[in-house]
Symmetry: C2
Amino acid sequence: MVRHRVSFAGGTSRGVVLDLIRTRGPISRVALADLTGLTQATMSTVVRQLLDEGLILETGRGESTGGKPPVMLDIDPNSRFAVGVQLGRESITYVAIDLSGAIVGRTRTPGVGSTEPTEMVQRLAAEIERTLSALDIEKRSVLGVGVVAPGPLDLAHGAILRSPHLAAWFKVPIRDMLSTALDLPVLLDNDATAAAIGDFWSGRLDGVTAHATVYMGTGIGAGILIDGIVFRGASSNAGELGQVVVAEDRGDPVFLEDVAAPSAVVQRARATAVSARWGLTGDDEFDDFRRIALAAAHGDAAATDLIECSAGHLAAGVLTLANLFDLDSITLAGPAFGVAGPTYVTAISRRLEADLFVRMQHGVRVRLSTDVANAAAIGGAALVMQHELAPRTMGLSSLVTR
Amino acid sequence: MVRHRVSFAGGTSRGVVLDLIRTRGPISRVALADLTGLTQATMSTVVRQLLDEGLILETGRGESTGGKPPVMLDIDPNSRFAVGVQLGRESITYVAIDLSGAIVGRTRTPGVGSTEPTEMVQRLAAEIERTLSALDIEKRSVLGVGVVAPGPLDLAHGAILRSPHLAAWFKVPIRDMLSTALDLPVLLDNDATAAAIGDFWSGRLDGVTAHATVYMGTGIGAGILIDGIVFRGASSNAGELGQVVVAEDRGDPVFLEDVAAPSAVVQRARATAVSARWGLTGDDEFDDFRRIALAAAHGDAAATDLIECSAGHLAAGVLTLANLFDLDSITLAGPAFGVAGPTYVTAISRRLEADLFVRMQHGVRVRLSTDVANAAAIGGAALVMQHELAPRTMGLSSLVTR
DNA sequence: CATGCTTAATAAAGCAGCCTAAGAAAGATC
DNA sequence: GATCTTTCTTAGGCTGCTTTATTAAGCATG
């Protein structure tokens, strides 16, 4: 047999193998060699390294297929941990995950509010330290912290550019400040991107080539993964699903965000005659959206109409997204899907089945995230896992340095 | 100085260096080492190889900057050639390009019509042989032939899936048939993708990260390049710009193709009272579109309205595309831009300047292709150049075998 | 104009990640 | 128990890069 030399970009084979063990484990060395295309000899040394680092374990014997039974390998979940922090409007969510991606701890504190960045960083650091010690996690087994924020970010400098309620954070180097305070690696990324990586790390995207995680909080975004690698575009702002043009109004574009986001639903709700019965407060748009979704879930016709309308628009936007990226997998995440998630899944699935350009060739798997509310925070932690254990970037400009 | 190990995915450094020499040449070894991040020593050997293969030449001395003056390197344009074939509705275009991407020959023959695939392949092969010998190009300096067709293709098998006027070609392995007939490598790809690679090969995309070439012929497509690598999606059908949803009509999506493509313009024209004065034939929608565009160019108000309307819709679709992919460069190509190109460029530029999500961070360069009518054929040839001389694909699934 | 300085290019040796080839280990089969 | 099959490791080699050192070719200066 003629073997061709096989190689992953810049020494990522260790990461690819770790991914496979995580998602397909327990698994033998031979099976890993088959899946990656690497030789058994190479796999032997890669696996040796992962064992030495304590990331994986030999968990016993597999079934013999006529010869020596294989030694099965699996992740050692408790060997490493990562922390994810979601800087929310109304609250900050902290999660700790283990190497398998399972949540081992979760806390929630009041939102950023008007706290100064300097003080906030101290509070974040303190809360993270507290969470870790409460969980009996040694700091040296913590790979780092992933901070997740909405809106456009300056990833190069680890700062927030503009965000609805985080104006005071403009260009503050929060990533480096928190890293100094904690003496741990810190990453900053966008909520949708993080949620997508979280889906990938959970192993639910096995076999998927082109995936998008649609994240709806206050705004609407999408984290896009190609072979598990984040698609970022020219300035790391790709996937701004809320900025899809869905109609025109006297020559001006109408964006998806204007018609499908929670705030749009609430605004339209206020204009209806029956809105009083949903108990809208007017203080917190997001809370009001939840009330409308709940009313819809209980069969309220007008509320159902409002949610269906939002879902219909989102479905059209997602159809555009799926056609442009030729997706084969979509998940929905974010607090907006907390109550009405299934309605949105149905609307999107129907739309794609009917109108996807390549529907004759392949379908698109549409699913709800396993934990819509915490998806971004979990993703933040997953981001750190991927960055530290299986780094990978797209394109040629991304020279791999190590 | 601590140097980090730098590496391009699977031995593509040769191709990257060739790209740089092509686009930035004449250039010295030292400058190449700086640009790529490779060491001077490595560059020395890479350049040696390219010189040995005859792809590049030492063209003389550069300016001294206080020490030994550098030896400048440049492409040897006549060392290699490639042929591009565009299977058009009404005509087939053949172009030959040299290594610098310049057109060295062009032919046009009647379109495919109802010719059987088997016979057509023989005709294509004969015409290509004739073109090459007329240009005095030796066959061994020809890297291959790039065949370009509209519509969804089966790239794995090198066949056309469905195409307006090429129904008889469904699943016919045209790529392999032509390769056998010519004894040359043959590639098949989509018109938009090819046009994008053509733009890249021409060197006009230097410094661009995320580019799209919008191709409008009968349909509307986009070829997307990230760092010069084609973005293909799950089934190589990414960039279907015509399938962007621009409005809704009683719950059904209205696609960009339905309102902005030449056929939509012609249809709308027929419904106007004044359409008689444009001399529409009704035979050939594309020809009629050209007449309307010409009338608009001569100041006909009703024709201008029709073209502006199409341009406005396309601009909205391109805005969506630019926001989702975070583009920093767009070119327009395809026969539909032959007459009215500047109108479309203006409409798109204006729309992006006004509404691009990241307009505060960076702009998007919008330009017309240097040769709108032949862009796809040129791109087909460029595709072969890139495939043979600087192969690269995106993601991890693309294991590099050699 | 000989000497030294700077920059350009090559040469030599080493390392990392993959390969092939060969063999050891451990059970299955007869 | 001998042989076969499959798993896993070891040994040696190739490739593409690195680092370090050397040669080549110009400028600057006493």
